[in-house]
Symmetry: C2
Subunit: 516 residues, 2 copies
């Protein structure tokens, strides 16, 4: 692979000193770097000044400098000989549930290895609130920070094994996470994130020293932590915007990260508007009895032949079905609707469901997979309460989308692209999401699943130093709207609690499907 033109590694030749020019090594290097960058550089770390004199003389005054940058300044993250040893960087998606690390060769941008693990803070609690309360206890913050740092260090160990390098070969980390996860990662007091007026300890952590955070990489390595715009809009989303390119497009587009919280950004190269709101856990498969996170054996796709009423399912890794994940639930609801097995209020239609409907604990259940076909020997079914919950969630989602677009005075139908982020998002079948009225009725091709956009954004930053300025531009151009649950919001929400919607004109394509 060719060397990245705008990567973070610069080959620098320093003029050798002489009796007539006795400038110190660090000052000499600083001067050389500033000439190349045409910008000021932040203090050179003592750990770098310490190894500099020998390294300069062993390499005939030619070095590779590993740089980094934040909203303030260029930083020197390390120096190494003028050779071709691997200089690596790590992109980190600091998820509440899952943490993903990608190791990149900083010279070429090539992905060397990837590793993901469950956020060890789950042992404190699966949700953010529990963790923040824990952090308020004595030593709680230190403990909870230790969990994630230790987890990352273990992951680095694994990555280095598969990449065949030493942790000291890692010089840059870029970390994207929501505001709370970022605070816990940095050991910052998260107490006021959850108390009105919801103030983070910091918006722009910038570049930090990895060793100060206890991360086991090169001793002068720098960690760039994506900025947030407040408690509810974190660095993971800013990384996502960067990856989607929302901020570089002439045309207005939308980016939606669907989860327990739905985070939405709408905009173009001139402006960005964002909001976040609770969409309900139903969307992540967290509520139904057979619900599960996307994983091996999860039913992730469901379809129905409306004429025969026969269902087809697909499981992740084609294993015997163990449960259903969020995208499966959405597919299932859409299938039930188009085959007439639920009505526009989402209520089961017994005559259409026929033998698949069972009564359990006083609630109607629709059996998708009978016990003998399931992995664990029990019916995989969805209850009326599950469907009701899904409808509330999808209505909340749609209401959030309507609210933000009406805030800027455009119609959802005008969107050029609808980016869906997140693992869950990548599994959703837009056709099904449109059918149940969770997402607007846009032409096929408008929807674009972008996967783990937080990880992708964090990776991009490691490959192109020019993007660092873009991050700040994104952060500064976001207008964050507080979603006030007022009468207007409630009216929209009520109208969205039908499949696909009270106003069928909003969903012309669904209308025709339902009529089939």
């Amino acid at each position: 692979m060719p060397e990245l033109a705008n990567g973070w590694i610069k080959r620098i030749s320093v003029t050798p000193p002489s009796l007539k020019d006795n400038t110190a090594d660090a000052d000499r290097l600083e001067k050389a770097l500033e000439a190349v960058l045409n910008a000021e550089i932040a203090d050179i770390d003592l750990t770098i000044s310490g190894i500099l004199p020998e390294l300069l003389r062993r390499n005939n005054f030619n070095l590779r400098c590993i740089l980094f940058k934040d909203h303030k300044k260029w930083r020197l993250a390390g120096i190494t000989g003028d050779d071709d040893t691997i200089v690596a960087g790590l992109a980190v998606d600091l998820g509440t549930t899952t943490v993903v690390l990608r190791m990149l060769d900083l010279s070429t941008g090539r992905t060397m290895a990837e590793y993901s693990f469950g956020n060890p803070q789950i042992s404190i609690g699966p949700d953010i609130l529990t963790r923040i309360h824990f952090a308020e206890k004595e030593n709680g913050l230190k403990t909870i920070q230790g969990l994630i740092i230790d987890g990352i260090n273990r992951a680095i160990g694994e990555l280095c094994k598969s990449g065949g390098i030493n942790p000291s070969g890692i010089y840059l980390l870029s970390v994207a996470g929501n505001t709370a996860m970022t605070h816990l990662f940095l050991g910052l007091n998260p107490r006021f994130l959850i108390r009105e007026p919801y103030i983070p300890a910091t918006n722009r952590p910038g570049c930090l020293n990895a060793r100060e955070l206890g991360i086991n990489v090169n001793q002068s390595a720098k960690v760039f932590v994506f900025p947030n715009t407040g408690s509810y809009f974190g660095g993971d989303l800013i990384a996502g915007i960067l990856y989607s390119g929302l901020n570089r497009s002439e045309k207005t587009a939308i980016l939606v990260d669907v989860g327990t919280n739905a985070e939405v950004v709408l905009g173009n190269k001139n402006w960005l508007v964002a909001c976040a709101g609770a969409a309900g856990p139903a969307l992540e498969g967290g509520v139904t009895k057979m619900g599960m996170m996307a994983g091996p054996g999860a039913i992730d796709r469901v379809s129905v032949n409306p004429e025969t009423g026969l269902f087809s399912i697909h499981t992740i890794e084609n294993l015997p079905p163990r449960g259903i994940c969020g995208s499966g639930v959405i597919d299932l609801a859409a299938a039930l609707f188009v085959s007439g097995m639920i009505d526009i209020r989402g209520k089961f239609v017994p005559e259409a469901c026929k033998g698949r409907l069972r009564e359990k604990d006083g609630l109607k259940h629709f059996v998708l997979v009978p016990a003998d076909a399931s992995e664990q020997g029990n019916d995989l079914s969805i209850s009326q309460a599950d469907i009701d919950s899904l409808i509330r969630s999808k209505a909340a989602m749609y209401t959030i989308l309507e609210t933000i677009s009406s805030y800027v005075g455009i119609s959802l139908s005008e969107l050029s692209t609808f980016y869906v982020a997140g693992t869950f998002g990548s599994l959703i079948n837009p056709r099904s999401a449109i059918t149940i009225g969770m997402m607007p009725d846009l032409p096929e091709g408008t929807y674009r699943s972008i996967g783990n956009s937080s990880l992708e954004g964090a990776s991009m930053i490691l490959k192109d130093c020019r993007l660092m300025d873009e991050i700040d531009a994104i952060r500064n151009s976001i207008t964050y709207i507080e979603l006030n649950v007022n009468q207007d919001f409630m009216n929209r929400f009520s109208a969205a609690r039908f499949i696909p919607h009270t106003n069928l004109l909003l969903f012309p394509s669904v209308d025709s499907v339902a009529l089939v």
Copy 2:
């Protein structure tokens, strides 16, 4: 005491956040500080961002901020409640032989306590060269750095005891030392300081984190390390220039730090010229058999009644004499000369010395204190070789002074003030130094002993934030001259190897003394 007008503590009121203004605490504080300072501030340390949210709310959004600065930027060294608890700073004179710490109340500038101790690196070797060679061994640098850091931490413990504060109440340190001591303090490779072309690892260490250096003070405390201009001109001298005010004066003056090495700065507010050269250990009392460092029982003053030939001596703390220190040797040589007991070449004149001259080991010795009057029951005497050595040293000293003044084209007689720095310097009797031709024949009152100017300069910086810019101005305006031991230098040196000098016109006042 009133609060210092230009001290480092600023009382800052931060606008409380609201739902309409959800800027993070750290970003809010940064903005408030930048408005007050009218300048950018470097990254706020994580340890500060960590305690900020609670501290802000407990103090109704009013804080005391402890700032610091270097050649690059303002730094935030700590935050504390808006009350009157003591916020302390430490000025450190990092001497090769003796380390002196002074604890100051940063609000008022009052000295709270002082503490000095022998540099523990003496256990490696008394001289710089031995220590640098030791630092080149495996783990040597770490060991030798550990010695000084541990010593400073012990001293901090003592100072805190006498000052009645906790180490966490110390937020600022300013450290002035020569280039080698500074490198060893910072754990920087000193290898190339002693090899042509004599390049330091760094010229301007700037502000560092105390905790990174292992110094036991407040966890966000900053350490400012005085810059150097090369291997031979360190931060101690820059601190000395600052204290002398050489750089602020219209009139040209000179600053001399006399020791084994003589460091000399000549200049005024428009320019500064510096040089350093070996003056020989004789000046510090390091050569004569009875020589000793200034300390209890050391003969520090000697005078003679030229008519009776009777000597008077004074010892430090008026104890029975144990030896003679540098200033005593200079006095003695002057006394021997004015009473005719040595000639202009420094050779004993037996008929004038009378019974005081003894022959030992084939060398003539002049007995200053007979065995029965000395503390240890042995003659305190000075040999012909000692006098010869002193003359070489004084000739070197004078030659350095002549060389630097001729470099800038002025005569030594034009100097408005002759500052003498250092403990040794403070003991020298200028009259004696002039008599033997070690220092130029300037009117009484031109000589000003300024004591430990390195410690004083380091203290000044803690009391007046405006001086920080002056340090950089000093560093940048110094032209360092390499003393080339060429024919010109040797000619001057030869001419200076007489008492007071071959050219008696240079020493009109001595001429008259000698004639008495």
